[in-house]
């Protein structure tokens, strides 16, 4: 038996999924921040806190906008927004490869000094997230 799920239900599930993933990231960021603070690592505490606050703001924005769109009868995602997301994520991925290459080179040459591997990974992940946001904002306004 095939169960049919309408587009509105899919959008509601999508909002709930985004909120759950966001909550995981907020909890992880908060734990990272508290743990770093307890060890006296102020940079780690600030980074973890910033991640938690950024994701919290993002989750509130997604929840409010998503609910408003659903109430007004618009889909959460349509073919244009999907295409923007695809282009932004693929470009962010390609450019972040160069970013990782540059980080690796600068680190091996001693130009950038990382405390440990987790700090290098955090910087790279932050860079990828910023690149994605920049490309999304660009393609959101551009002819595609």
């Amino acid at each position: 038996m095939k169960i049919k799920i309408n587009a509105e239900s899919v959008d509601k599930i999508r909002i709930v999924a985004i909120i759950i993933v966001s909550l995981f990231v907020i909890v992880t960021g908060t734990l990272w921040s508290l743990n770093s603070f307890a060890k006296g690592d102020i940079a780690g505490a600030v980074t973890g806190g910033l991640i938690a606050i950024t994701i919290l703001v993002f989750a509130i924005f997604v929840y409010m906008r998503g609910n408003k769109d659903l109430r007004e009868g618009y889909p959460l995602k349509d073919e244009r927004s999907g295409r923007v997301l695809e282009k932004a994520s693929s470009k962010a991925f390609y450019v972040s490869l160069y970013l990782l290459l540059a980080v690796g080179f600068l680190s091996s040459e001693g130009i950038i000094k990382f405390r440990d591997v987790s700090q290098a990974i955090s910087l790279s992940m932050g860079g990828m997230a910023i690149l994605f946001a920049v490309f999304w904002a660009y393609y959101h306004r551009k002819e595609i």
């Binding site: 587009a7 349509d78 073919e79 002819e143």
Partner: protein
Amino acid sequence: MKTRIKELRARYDFTQEDLAKKVGVRRETIVFLEKGKYNPSLRLAHDIARILKTRIDELFIFEDN
């Protein structure tokens, strides 16, 4: 690419919101379509043409060089 969406939408007294809801897209997609800044899928072009009671080739005008 030029479109006649705005002209035909006005003829049937549809707002951008009305048309967006009828074809199941977000309002900004209709805005970009009317500006000629978005190439829709064949499915969306077909749906808009059907709602505006016209043909796809009358709705979207491609200017050859």
